[in-house]
Symmetry: C2
Subunit: 324 residues, 2 copies
């Protein structure tokens, strides 16, 4: 990143901040690589304190089952904090101590690395008295995503940072990020069946070429979903939120996918599909009551199949990261 | 089509109607097979009169250079009128005499057959006292399109019938047609260089498979265009109205395509691309003055190249067919 020419006001610095950053559902079922939305849970909690000694230290990580790098240059939270300090010319002036508490599974298709990246950068910006706006933080988030998963893409960090439903078009590095309207009633039932599908593997599974006629159906659906969001037309959203291109391939990696889909739709879901690169799945509905019924029915089914899982029910989170 | 159970009110019948039906720009540059819009010119004029003798007769066709079928069972205007009469149980009761005046080129990628089909059905419905609504007329229009060009698709008949900018998703035969907002300032400069590119040939040129990464760019653009129309965000519309998938193949059939594109963009066009399956091209802009400047500059260039052409400048037509 190039050095910014922001004026830093030391009097606005804070001693400690605690931040929540949300999980995100990339693709929003039909919009592979261009859509995503944030939820209220799960998410990451980040505690950041200023210290006398300059530099960024990663004090503690919980909830990651030892899977995340403890090297502050490699962990996305501390590395991104350092990147931002450096760009602001504060590397040798400010000391930061970080605790990362992961309240969400890693490698689950819920934007775990994006939550940490966005949370870390949001916390850093807060502790420094908010020198940057959210749009100014976005390039750092994308760079953090590249560091964390090798893929500089905004379909998780975009909605995690801005909240709501996000359209990402144009170049990966400097994307054109458009906030779409979030219809009030949209609820998500998320289930993470505990099988590990690394993003890289899920990406490799996808074919390089697709049938044009399938692509036409898919972009008709994406256009229909965007129009449905603006019109707050739940019937149109329901008709449009279908993935004919990616799901047939990726669903193979997800145990009980078809069974869960059948259950969700029979319990009144508008739509059911894969969250990001999976294995988490998501059912959309228009009522909290329905969202919970769907979740319970799928949970019951997975229990019968002896498959461990995490389950979350949430409205779309229009806020993004927040102070705790 | 199945017989309708509409009540026919003979007292509302008219003796003669004159109807204008507009040309349409299918795809709207980036939305292959899912978007289209109507213009104020060119278009077809249809004169329809009731006669004593039952049955549909095609009295006269002008402006088609002898290219359209004169057999009333094969010409889309008369065949569709007959189809509608039959469905309404009026075949042996009502006589119609039709004149079709084509004020637009055939095989130009401007929805010539759609204009005739929509105009014929609209005129028939008007002369019968409007027993059907526009949505009820749509299936007949799609059937007419199949008759006229072998391809039952709504990306021309949809916008020709409803006016404005139309999104067509779902099945070809029973499409899900969504009227998108038409930002006030949108203007189209249409140029038809006089080379013949039959729709069938242009379709055959398109590859069956496309790269997924190109498809992602394309559906990001389509989603961006839809969002831009709702936001009335001309900058976003401009960024989004780009075709990375179809244009590279189809443009080969269009003489001076790259040169015309360069001229249009240098004269201030938001975007430039192929209308439908071509060879007509379209430049979009936000002012009538710009639209006319673009048109003049391209016309001048084509004259220098000794290429004959038709040129039209129009706002997006939000009305569709109308009585003259």
């Amino acid at each position: 990143m190039k050095e910014t020419n922001k004026t830093i006001d030391v009097s606005r610095f804070e001693e400690e901040v605690r931040v929540f950053a949300p999980a995100t559902v990339a693709n929003m079922i039909c919009g592979f690589d261009v859509l995503g939305f944030a939820v209220h849970e799960p998410g990451d909690e980040i505690i950041m304190r200023r210290s006398e000694k300059p530099g960024v230290r990663l004090l503690n990580i919980t909830g990651d089952e030892g899977r995340l790098p403890k090297d502050p240059n490699k962990n996305t939270v501390s590395a991104c904090a350092e990147m931002l300090l450096k760009d602001l010319g504060l590397s040798d002036k400010v000391g930061l101590e970080i605790e990362l508490h992961k309240h969400m599974p890693i490698g689950s298709g819920l934007g775990s690395s994006a939550a940490s990246t966005v949370g870390g950068l949001y916390a850093t910006n807060e502790i420094l008295g908010k020198p940057l706006t959210k749009p100014e933080l976005l390039p750092y988030c994308i760079e953090g995503e590249r560091l964390a998963c090798g893929h500089p893409h905004a379909d998780n960090v975009g909605p995690a940072l801005f909240g709501g439903i996000t359209l990402i078009r144009g170049e990966a590095i400097k994307p054109d990020l458009i906030q779409l309207p979030t219809p009030e009633k949209l609820h998500a039932s998320i289930i993470f069946p505990q099988v590990d599908v690394p993003t890289r593997d899920a990406r490799q599974l996808i074919k390089e070429k697709v049938k044009l006629k399938d692509a036409v159906v898919q972009w008709g659906n994406i256009a229909g979903l965007v129009a449905g969001l603006y019109r707050e037309d739940y019937a149109l959203i329901t008709r449009s939120m279908k993935d004919v291109l990616i799901e047939p391939t990726r669903a193979i990696l997800i145990p009980q996918f078809e069974e869960m889909k059948k259950i969700a739709l029979s319990e009144g879901a508008m739509s059911f599909g894969i969250s990001g690169s999976g294995p988490s799945v998501v059912a959309m509905s228009t009522k909290m009551e329905t969202a919970e019924k769907i979740s319970s029915a799928i949970q019951k089914h997975l229990q019968e199949q002896d498959i461990d899982f995490f389950a979350y029910v949430s409205k779309v989170n229009t806020e993004g990261p927040k102070r705790l």
